[in-house]
Assembly symmetry: C2
Homo-oligomer: 405 residues x 2
């Protein structure tokens, strides 16, 4: 079949995930939608906040002339300006709209950034575990992802990053709050990383970018604050999405912003605009641009996620499954428990096979994603962007699974 | 500056176009917005049809739960089904929603198709002149564009395409109605092309795809009909956009469809969905998907463009500028007239330097795009997606320019 070889390969390796989805759907058909505890999908299920609906209705009523029409590839100037003000405040810098490019969510933004900065053979270092889509995003544009370990609590291990730095390093990409661990990297660690990159750049003559993927910036608990990047390191690139903060994952709206002191900012921004054009985004969707510009500090009710986290951790605590307590985002990254029982005629090996445990949970109609899908075998991810009732109802299933593991 | 080399190069070559835009903006500031006759931009200026506003208002009022949320990468199933019905009728085939993938306009759709089918070194043959963005779209995914001449009236020259076919040919890409010529390729020419590809495929063991980029399908004059592709050739891929038919260029909504007999259709569609995901589109914007599904046969008032075409051709006829009479789209592709006057101290060379003529027109505040920008030096493109008043007012400027050329 006349397909690109790279795509053919990718389709066959991703078939495991697809199989999981299909099996999940089959289970739901067989047992009923609410009898299957599906914690696989990292997509917000709660509705956009009331402010979104208000602005949406207003836009539809006005339906201004030219509002669905052409604009420059970077976005409407007034939208870029509004988001520059948001970014200035959150990132502790002063930038204007010329430093912001609207994007089709963070996924679009990261592809635009990689297209703009990667030369063939270039590397992007990512602390592990991480959102595995980063891998194809880098590959799309001739680069590759290099994994760097994190500390046992999943915080940044700056020494591990140091070991991976080379003249091929185009960027270090961090994601805080992190998918899948929920970890927020504190300002002190960001400062340490910035110092490392600075030192490395001076020594080797190539200053890596620090790219910060922040779709979960607003989804934080217990008054946690996500520290700024743009003010911490000169060559920083912020990638933001409204998919989580406004629960708009289907609308594909986000932006890229750079700090005031980034080298040759005008050319970098021109490259982002050009990449936006030739990758076929052309521009971020016009209507959603104008909507988010009026909602720069709006966000969904994070307490909903907080209550779910509490309900879920109670269940996990109750049956002895260990996890990293999330400071942000909406995932519980859990350690696969030691196996106690003989399984399938084999002796218990005390191992931590995440795929086996995920299969085992599935027998109780609990669905999760193996940690291998985030570069961290021996763990699994449970997403709690799922109704609290379903989380609570899953308790007996977890207990039953643990009794037979 | 740490940019991808390919992007650095592209930025410097595109700086001519950017310079033109900037000069245009300067002229408008200097002489007033309505004193500059700007025919450069191929973006529809007329508003979406009333039906769009009606559906938009309805969607905002309902604002259904989950309507901005997650869906599969290919789009909402009911939207895909609605567009499969539209496509079936227009393309004279019977396909269901499984054969349609929603895309971020035609630019997004073409990138998804190229990502899915191109291997390094693969070629895409395009009749010339053509929309030059095809070039970076193919380059993005390791391929390249190979130009094939058209006949003097810009209709398909199937023999010229034949000469360019090789085992490296992944696809032939046509665009009808054509930007910049306005030519619609008749069914007989499509059949001849299909037969050629069939024969070539059988001989060399690689059947090229026929990709049809049809954003101007609805923008046709004098009851012209754009013939179907999917029923004409087995390995066809249709790429469609609502940017022109509904005047929504800022909203980035379109789709890809394949015929009922395309080889290994399920895998091809899976590849399109996967490419949509990893290129960072993830999915076409949710709200616009649902809107266009209710507007499958709506379109802007094409008579507006027809009146503009009449006004513009009257001016060009009056001053002796020859052009291809557009059957569709909204461009006049004009031959650079023979130079009659000594210019800048040099003797008239009878040449057809499109850049010189565009510069000459600019002195009369008329802005167009050199044919070289479409692979056809000696010509220029004038876009008439501009108010009729501006077109009519430009008459004296054209005449004055011709008097001194």
């Amino acid at each position: 079949m006349p397909l690109a070889n790279a795509i053919k390969e990718a389709l066959s390796t991703q078939s495991m995930v697809r199989k999981m989805f299909e099996e999940g759907n089959l289970l739901k058909k067989q047992y009923g939608q609410d009898k299957v505890y599906d914690f696989t999908l990292g997509n917000p299920d709660i509705e956009p906040p009331p402010a979104f609906h208000r602005v949406f209705a207003k836009m539809a009523k006005e339906d201004k002339i030219g509002s669905h029409g052409y604009m420059t590839n970077g976005g409407f100037p007034e939208v870029r300006q509004a988001l520059a003000e948001k970014t200035s405040r959150e990132q502790n810098v002063r930038i204007d709209g010329s430093r912001v490019i609207m994007s089709c969510g963070a996924a679009g933004g990261l592809n635009v950034v990689f297209k703009s900065i990667l030369n063939p053979g270039d590397e992007v270092i990512v602390p592990c575990p991480y959102f595995m889509e980063y891998r194809p995003y880098a590959l799309n544009h001739g680069g590759s992802i290099v994994e760097a370990a994190t500390k046992p609590d999943f915080s940044l291990d700056v020494d591990a990053i140091k070991e991976k730095l080379s003249v091929k390093t185009a960027a270090v990409l961090i994601n805080s709050p992190n998918n899948p661990t929920g970890r927020i990297y504190p300002a002190a660690d960001i400062a340490k990383l910035a110092a490392l990159l600075e030192e490395h750049g001076k020594k080797c003559g190539r200053m890596p970018y620090l790219i910060s993927d922040e779709p979960y910036r607003e989804i934080v608990y217990d008054h946690a604050v996500v520290p700024p990047i743009l003010s911490a390191y000169k060559e920083s690139i912020l990638v933001y999405s409204y998919s989580k903060s406004l629960s708009l994952p289907g609308e594909r709206i986000g932006f890229i912003a750079v700090g005031p002191q980034v080298t040759d900012a005008d050319t970098l921004i021109a490259a982002f605009a050009f990449a936006t054009r030739i990758l076929g985004f052309v521009n971020a969707p016009a209507l959603m641009q104008r909507i988010v510009a009026e909602l720069t500090f709006a966000k969904v009710d994070v307490d909903i996620y907080k209550r779910r986290r509490a309900a879920f951790t109670e269940i996990l605590d109750g049956c002895g499954i260990k996890y990293a307590k999330p400071e942000g985002a909406f995932y519980l990254f859990c350690q696969v428990p030691q196996r106690k029982h003989v399984s399938g005629g084999e002796l218990a090996d005390g191992g931590a096979d995440d795929t086996a445990f995920v299969d085992h949970l599935k027998q109780q109609l609990v669905l999760g994603v193996p940690g291998a899908g985030f570069g961290k075998p021996g763990w699994l991810r449970l997403a709690y962007c799922v109704d609290e009732k379903i989380i609570k109802a899953s308790g007996p299933a977890f207990r039953k699974a643990m009794e037979t593991w």
